[in-house]
Symmetry: C2
Subunit: 423 residues, 2 copies
């Protein structure tokens, strides 16, 4: 029978306990890696002014892909499409009080009005991590090491995923030698960014439309095919040297076609991809120099990246690396034999909780067999029974729900027994 | 000098690491208490349809206090002002697959367009916890026990905070004996809810406006002054009996003036207040019977409550019960003596991370004194130095930043030493 239930909003997700478990698991991995490198958790508002994004370089995102609306007071608001502008605003607002270099990370919801598809929703979650106030190639290396450590931590090998690194200054310098005018280079960056995403024919047409001569187009193709180009960048040479120290170099390659869509990057840029080529980029990031200044702060550069929750989850599912979630957090289910034993059962269950054991309590009497079945369905491992005999003898019976094995023991030994069983 | 920084949206908060630490600390307390009673974490979308709230009983909230807007496709959306309608929708959508009784909790952001003031913002966070499919008074007691356990867990005593409990059915039955018509009782509930929030004169005027006779008004006043009224409710009698088992009865009192603003409650209702009377309600909750049915599911009752993050944080601050936050999560700061020792320093720092120690690394050389000062300012406790002597001897020096004490030890002993120091 079809159910006529009020619908949810297109492009949003309901996180039932199984999906929520996966999200929290990811969040905990992000926390673990972030904190192991000394990054502090912060969070910005989810509502920001429209001006924040216009003031900066995410104009296309806010104009075409964001939820923008007026509130009841007539203010034009935006559901944040990304965190970096908020980070820049928060740093600018307290810049004199903050200690630099500053290491911050965050995990929260974001919104983009795009066509929902596999791996893309309108409401999604993102890990952001940034280092501000250290312009060295070693700072770029630290962020890439964090990214690689995360991939390793969630169980993805360097054969399955790869972080591709480039440097916009290096590219810009070469585009200049091809006589491509400075004002055209942003467009040529877009062209390079599209190289792997379009057919050869469409890409050549795009190049011609931009006004590149066939010679220039050929030079660009040669440039982004040159795997040794990084040797010409002092910054990349130092960055790759520093990366060696982290033992994750196998996750990282130079890739001259990586540019990133966002226009605010000024130096190193990087993206993580699955090597199967089945998905779009898992995440991306890079160095930005002007963001804090753009929102009214003193100029301070930063480097960071953002990982959405969707693609990484799909890849982890594909490789079977996500644990199973959705069961009750409590391994222990406390039955209720009959109404006369309510007080005693609730009291004993609560003493277990006070000893740090998670317990679900049956609150209304029903047949024990039914209670065992329920306990098993919600994922409990042990059921505790206090019947009239147990109550009279100050004992309890523990039933192992998987094996059916039952053990009677003194109430005083229950806590230690359950802890030994992993309760 | 005034800084001209792009502003944030009125009624939103920036969570710098110190504020974020407090929020995460609360979230962890909520998780701990929720899980100890066997509740599973879930989460709904932050965007819901306007219809979800109109279909239900939060009409006033969505019409007057919510952020409602049209998206680019013309759909009318709402930034969720509360979670219960979403919970009802999610339960209805998968009702045949879910196992009841169902215990779920959640912590996330909500929005209301209200005048920002102390303890009230337009964007706030809320803990929601609900038990569906068990209509017993013992289910009500479990939720109240959870609420009291949380207050206890965050360090508030029963002298500082109190959970006030009432039952709407009980009140409704009495209003009927005063010849107050069924269709008027919702308004009289509002009147009762306002009793402590208005002057006596305004309240009497409000009663008269509703059409209550002076006799009826007197009867209502007597009713909500009757502290023994609960003895007439079989449900409350059983609920208070069950509460005894949890050892938190000192946190709970019967209070016949407690009604709750939301119209969807059908039985037990409760609110937590600080005994100083300085703040508005810390949280509230109650039993609702019709929500899942209202959104298209099969009727199933529930009981739950929601705790906003603002009032509880203010009270915890007032009583000095909030730990301090905002420092780096890493007790260990790894200095960089000079550029020649970069590889070795980064490598050693990373081996500490792999052993589970959180480490912030200096990435560019500067005077050691300056590095120690920075480490101290971000809140690190120990600085590690690898200079030319240490590198030659395979040793490291640990400097205690509080005492200035320095110890040189073999590199192989560093992990165990730092762990012993609590690194």
């Amino acid at each position: 029978m079809a159910r006529d239930v009020v619908r949810s909003v297109k492009g949003t997700r309901d996180f039932y306990p199984e999906e929520m478990g996966a999200r929290i698991w990811l969040y905990e991995k992000m926390r673990q890696v972030s904190e192991s490198f000394g990054y502090s958790e912060f969070e910005g508002p989810m509502l920001e002014t429209y001006e924040l994004y216009i003031a900066k370089s995410s104009q296309e995102i806010v104009e075409k892909q964001s939820f923008v609306f007026e509130d009841r007071g007539g203010d034009k608001l935006t559901l944040r499409p990304e965190l970096t502008p908020t980070l820049a605003r928060m740093v600018a607002a307290r810049q004199p009080q903050l200690t630099f270099p500053l290491r911050w990370w965050s995990f929260g919801p974001f919104w983009r009005y795009e066509r929902p598809q596999k791996g893309r929703t309108r409401e999604f979650f993102q890990w952001n991590i940034d280092l501000l106030g250290d312009d060295s190639p070693e700072a770029d290396a630290e962020l890439i090491a964090i990214a690689a450590s995360f991939l390793k931590e969630v169980g993805l090998t360097s054969g399955e995923v790869r972080i591709l690194v480039n440097n916009r200054e290096l590219m810009d310098k070469h585009l200049a030698t091809f006589d491509i005018a400075p004002e055209m280079r942003g467009e040529v960056f877009n062209l390079i960014d599209r190289r792997d995403k379009m057919s050869e024919e469409s890409w050549q047409e795009y190049a011609a439309e931009l006004g590149l001569t066939p010679k220039q187009t050929g030079q660009v193709i040669d440039l982004i095919g040159n795997q040794e180009l990084w040797r010409q960048s002092d910054s990349l040479v130092k960055m790759f040297a520093a990366l060696e120290a982290y033992g994750i170099s196998d996750y990282v390659s130079f890739a001259p076609q990586i540019i990133r869509g966002l226009v605010y990057y000024t130096g190193t840029v990087f993206e993580a991809w699955d090597t199967s080529g089945e998905y779009r980029a898992i995440f991306g990031g890079g160095r930005y120099d002007n963001l804090v200044g753009d929102v009214g702060g003193d100029p301070v550069g930063g480097v960071g990246f953002a990982v959405g929750d969707l693609i990484i989850t799909l890849i982890l599912q594909q490789y079977g690396r996500l644990p199973e979630f959705g069961k009750t957090p409590s391994a222990v289910f406390f039955t209720l034999f009959d109404q006369s034993l309510l007080q005693e059962s609730l009291k004993l269950a609560n003493s277990l909780r006070q000893a740090g054991i998670k317990v679900t309590s049956q609150l209304t009497p029903s047949k024990l067999g039914k209670q065992f079945k329920y306990a098993d369905r919600i994922g409990a491992k042990f059921a505790i029974v206090v019947g009239p005999d147990e109550a009279a003898n100050n004992t309890v019976t523990i039933k192992n729900l998987a094996t059916g094995e039952q053990t009677e023991l003194p109430q005083g030994e229950l806590v230690n027994n359950l802890k030994a069983l992993g309760g």
